[in-house]
């Protein structure tokens, strides 16, 4: 187990420069915007020059970029991530309001993807070239080719308008107490089952819409990696040894899981970003709407804040993926 420990320490240490890189990139991306934001923030071309001057001073726009970066880092470490010139609130407070909704949606979609995609993939590998396999293939192709907003609208039409089974928009009743901002989790934690039911009903349609393209992808990756492992000599030898079928399956699944985990890690990132469109269709009060507004207002403390938080989540997810790799495969620990 010593190897695993050293691997974890090494991997955690590389986390630090990655984070610094994330902040640097975030900063650079925001500075690429060519317009003069101070004028816009002050209210357009007709704005009073002294207000513009004040804003330039307040946001250090007259300073050279490296000084600006320094102020940016200071804002991050002092905790408010800058004040949005549009909402006049600390960016961190805005993110704290909107991010949990997006995170909840992305996590829910991730679980849907895992619990539908992986079993579908395993079944289609075991029943290769049968009708089940073809159905999974169709799901994958349609998921890749169907626009998310279209699927969202169709689902709303079927389940809300025609059948009246599920609500079309919003997050539902907020739970009595919020700890994390993830409504599903909070309502369970404080035992508010009425809210839980409402939240669950509200998240099903957007969650499934967001997950649909991923389900097919994960199913296809699972299928091919399970097939790969099934043809490996050690599976053959496991059968020759007369292992119980459940033991054989353990070998298959563990060996097949590395590509699956890789793709899940990448997908979680795209779920977070891809939530923007889904959130718009379902009026989900998440980061998506906030981000779009921030971009059109060139509200760059907010843009940088959103970019940074998504970057941080992405890097953290990758860290988790790498740790899982090392737990699964002893050869990676070296």
């Amino acid at each position: 187990m010593g190897e695993l420990k050293y691997y974890l320490i090494r991997r955690l240490l590389t986390f630090i420069p990655t984070i610094i890189g994330v902040t640097l990139l975030t900063f650079l991306i925001a500075r690429v915007i060519p317009a003069n934001p101070a004028v816009l923030w002050a209210g357009g071309i007709k704005a009073k020059p002294e207000v513009v001057q004040l804003l330039i001073k307040k946001y250090h726009l007259d300073k050279p970029p490296h000084i600006q970066y320094f102020y940016y880092l200071k804002d991050i470490f002092t905790g408010h991530w800058g004040i949005s010139p549009v909402t006049h609130r600390p960016v961190i407070a805005d993110i704290a309001t909107y991010f949990p909704a997006t995170a909840e949606l992305a996590l829910f979609s991730l679980f849907v993807t895992i619990f539908i995609g992986i079993p579908l993939g395993v079944i289609s590998a075991l029943k290769k070239d049968t009708w089940i396999d073809h159905v999974v293939r169709i799901i994958a192709i349609s998921g890749a080719s169907m626009p998310v907003f279209w699927l969202g609208i169709i689902l709303q039409w079927i389940f809300y308008y025609s059948l009246g089974l599920l609500p079309a928009t919003g997050r539902g009743i907020p739970p009595r107490i919020t700890y994390t901002g993830l409504y599903l989790l909070d309502s369970l934690l404080c035992g508010d089952f009425e809210a839980f039911r409402s939240n669950l009903q509200h998240i099903i349609l957007p969650g499934f819409t967001l997950a649909y393209p991923c389900i097919g992808l994960v199913a296809r990756i699972t299928r091919s990696s399970v097939l790969d492992v099934l043809s490996a000599d050690f599976i053959d030898y496991a059968r020759i040894r007369g292992l119980k079928p459940s033991f054989v399956f353990r070998h298959v699944f563990r060996n097949a899981s590395i590509p699956i985990i890789t793709i899940l890690g990448l997908l979680f990132g795209s779920l977070l970003c891809g939530a923007v469109i889904t959130e718009t269709v379902f009026s989900w009060p998440g980061l998506g709407t906030y981000t779009v507004a921030a971009i059109s207002n060139i509200d760059y403390p907010a843009i940088m804040g959103v970019t940074l938080i998504i970057g941080l989540v992405y890097v953290t997810v990758n860290l988790i993926v790498d740790i899982l790799y090392a737990i699964i495969d002893p050869r990676i620990r070296l």
């Binding site: 000599d233 050690f234 053959d236």
Partner: protein, 325 residues
Amino acid sequence: MSGEVLLRVEDLRVYFYTYAGVVKAVDGIDLEVYRGESFALVGETGCGKSTVARAVLRLIPPPGRIVSGRVFFEGRDLLSLPEKELRAIRGADIAYICQDPSSALDPLYTCGYQISETIVSHQGVVKWRDAWMYALKLLKQVAIPEAEKRIKNYPHELSGGMKQRVVISMSIANRPKLLIADEPTTALDVTIQAQIMDLIMELKKLYNTTLLLITHNLGLVAEYCDRVAVMYLGKIVEVADVYTLFEKPLHPYTQGLLKAIPNPLKRVERLYSIPGMIPSPVNLPPGCRFRPRCQFAKDICAREEPPMIEVEPNHYVACWMYAKR
């Protein structure tokens, strides 16, 4: 040497249905292996000797199929047993040592786990802890140094010879009655081949099992086996005890094989090789399969397949030269 028959293969045919055509990998084989002996199945690569072993366990990978035949093990026909009963026999009564130990072990599990699961799979009530202790005992038995440490190692941390020792310890874990060793030394360094073979023979004696050795190495056969069957292109061409076969080989193919062994004490200009090429198993020549390469071929060889003839007691050969006509 004749005693109780442990394994009897009757008219076994295994065909592979490929796009290029039907490959008759094993085409009508009869074999008898007696309890306690060391039986060798020799032949060159691709002659179907491994397929015979796999067919005994009924584990032929698609597109292969066992077309006909019966395999009796202790009187039970393995080919008609339900899958569940057969699973109980695989790895327990009939164990298998494979050619390449590196690909036979799952890289993600420790050796100890993989030996233990073999034990737990077959001895239902055994606790994992006990299985682990037994695995340790087995590793010591196959002479792995520092077994206490090695048992927690992953396959990539072991050398080829050690991995083969682990595979061997798995194969004897459930005290098999029949041990099939499919080219057990081919993937190993020459220097440890003898060690591994000696180990297998020692364990064979210790556990009182029967050995079916599949090899192309006639040196191993001469050294370790009691009886030999020579295979050529899916058919058995000669069966004899090892002394008879090496002293008085009857089939032209066997004679060619023995002539092709280099003799370190005699300097020769050119090492003998059997003329011609192995014909494609998809388009087999009619009559005797060895005819295109045989210097004694007669008219009848091209027309009819030679029957198995008992030339002298327990010495069988499939060649028209020995037919009494």
